[in-house]
Amino acid sequence: MATVEKKPIPLEFEQPLAILAQNMEALEKQLSDNPELEGDLERMQDQYNSLKRSLYSNLRPIDHLAIARHPQRPYTRDYFSTWDPGWVELHGDRKGVDDGAMVGALLEIDGIKMVAVGTQKGRTLRDKQHCNFGMPQPEGYRKALRLFHHANKFHLPILCLIDTPGAYPGLTAEEHNQSQAIAENLMELAGVTVPVVAAVTGEGGSGGALAIGVANRILMLEHSVYSVITPEGCASILWRSNDKVSEACQAMKMTAKEILQLGVIDQVISEPLGGAHHDYQTAAENLKKAIVAQMTELLKLTPEQVRKDRQDKFRRFGSFR
């Protein structure tokens, strides 16, 4: 699996920490000539640790967003290859297009065979273009739909990994009926008779995320976000301003913890301190454990029960008087 080769790139809110780390490094170099600095370094280390703890325990919603969008964050392919190094990739919608933003796979995790789909962001520029920055075209959703039907036919559970800014807003996307592609996935995924587990690993961007999110169990990584519209879109429409993104993040209640409180998701998966990009292995292991546990439970249900469980879950969502 692709491990983090470089040191994690610090985010804006992590700058104080990065500066402190730099100072410590500089001090360490002088240590051999000036042993009396030993005490200073120790004090600095304590300062660093307590700053780190307080920084990560008081994250604002927009900080979670920054971590969720971190360029070194593990992506769908990273998880697939950690969990099952021999995973088989499945391409194409069978109708003319293979959308790089949606990855299809056969996976075997802890002895459970499953069909998996996931949105994929790119790492290098070329890769990003191939994946369209994680924004599927209608053909990507139709690829996923084909695989949902395959899973249903062979009684295989379905895993969906969500990390997308949203469905692609483009000319051909509209011409090829993006709305219909999403709507059909919502309807068909509601009706499959095999277990469906979805996990938001990064950004859960609106309908483009939900199109692979109609699941019996929905998990979110600790720093991932899930929202009805991008915070940028929300800020520009409601505040008519581009610098109210932080306010929009806060108002929409888009962090994993808040969405758990709203009863929409089932579980928040903890990440290594600072975010999944600090330690791919631990992040992947935590998520795997939760997926396996949820699937094991769901596999005990009959096909009718598992469909009813999912439809009943979504039937309850809403708040009115």
């Binding site: 919502l186 929300c234 969502f317 809403g318």
Partner: protein, 314 residues
């Protein structure tokens, strides 16, 4: 969630008044409100139309066939047989699950929306007859909160679908919406899945769902129940899509065709079954419903009961 406000007539008159032309035209000037109540300007051909005439023509411009937006109440009047509409969940109102506040509190925006539209929410649902056929009918109203879908719209459409399924009657939903309602956050998003899931059960039951797309239908509504009809009908000139025109232009940095995302464009690209003028809409619905009515049970029963007495059996 694009802003699709029509040019406000009041603004139009205000600008005319500024140019002091109106005083010359009208010797005893009416107030702007009075004037607006009597006259409406066609957004397409700019003709000034007498409001009463426009109404008898189902809010379609007699000169150029421009289809004005129609509110939910008028729409029901146009489609349901007179006096047959029996409203469901009339009292259901939004709550404020996120205690949402942008530049104003969501609860305050809700009250404003109700004052402006006279409606509690952006959809009216009920059971009715259409040319004598029983049907479950939902009509969205863009005039209420931009027709946006929050918990109430999702719940009412879901309950309407369930009511139609229970009665084995056709389901008809007239959509008009800017998309999901941001002020209810993730719960609004989940309404897309909730309505689609209910429609899955409805589809499995073998009953007919007709979706009517009207000016404008976008975002989470298009990407859920509005696109899931057995038949999808669009009104002439209606703008329909997933993403708004401006968002797409900003993303792809190129000019879009003039007719992009219009009903006619959708027809050309195979997204809708037909584009139907408003004055033909009711008869089209009646015809489609009649066409899909199961054959009368009596005939089927006769066949079965006739079997045992078949000649030649010993």
């Amino acid at each position: 969630m694009e802003e699709l406000e029509e040019m406000d007539l009041k603004d139009w008159f205000a600008s005319r008044q500024k140019r002091k032309e109106i005083q010359e035209v009208i010797k005893q000037p009416l107030t702007t409100d009075e004037y607006c109540a009597l006259w409406k300007q066609c957004f397409q051909c700019r003709e000034l139309l007498y409001t009463r005439d426009l109404r008898t023509n189902l809010d379609v411009c007699p000169k150029c066939d421009y289809h004005f937006r129609v509110g939910a109440l008028d729409r029901i009047e146009q489609l349901a047989d007179e006096g047959s509409f029996d409203e469901l969940d009339a009292d259901m109102r939004s709550s404020d699950p996120l205690t949402f506040f942008d530049t104003e509190a969501y609860v305050k925006r809700q009250d404003e929306a109700t004052r402006k539209s006279g409606l509690r929410e952006a959809v009216l649902t009920g059971l009715c007859r259409i040319d004598g056929h029983e049907a479950a009918l939902g009509c969205m109203d863009f005039g209420h909160f931009g027709g946006s879908m929050g918990s109430v719209v999702g719940e009412k459409v879901t309950r309407l679908t369930e009511a139609a399924l229970e009665r084995n009657s056709p389901l008809i939903v007239v959509s008009s919406s800017g998309g999901a309602r941001m002020q209810e956050g993730i719960l609004s998003l989940m309404q897309m899945a909730k309505t689609s899931s209910a429609l899955k059960s409805f589809a499995d039951s073998g009953n007919l769902y007709i979706s009517i797309l009207t000016e404008p239908t976008f975002g989470g509504v298009t990407a859920s129940f509005a696109m899931l009809g057995d038949f999808i009908i669009a009104e002439p000139g209606a703008r329909i899509g997933f993403a708004g025109r401006r968002v797409i232009e900003q993303t792809i940095r190129q000019k879009l065709p003039a007719d992009f995302q219009t009903a006619e464009y959708l027809l050309k690209h195979g997204h809708v079954d037909m584009v139907v003028s408003r004055n033909k809409l009711k008869e089209t619905l009646a015809r489609l419903i009649a066409f899909h009515k199961p054959a009368p049970k009596v005939a089927a029963e006769k066949k079965v009961s006739g079997e045992p007495s078949a000649a030649g059996r010993t």
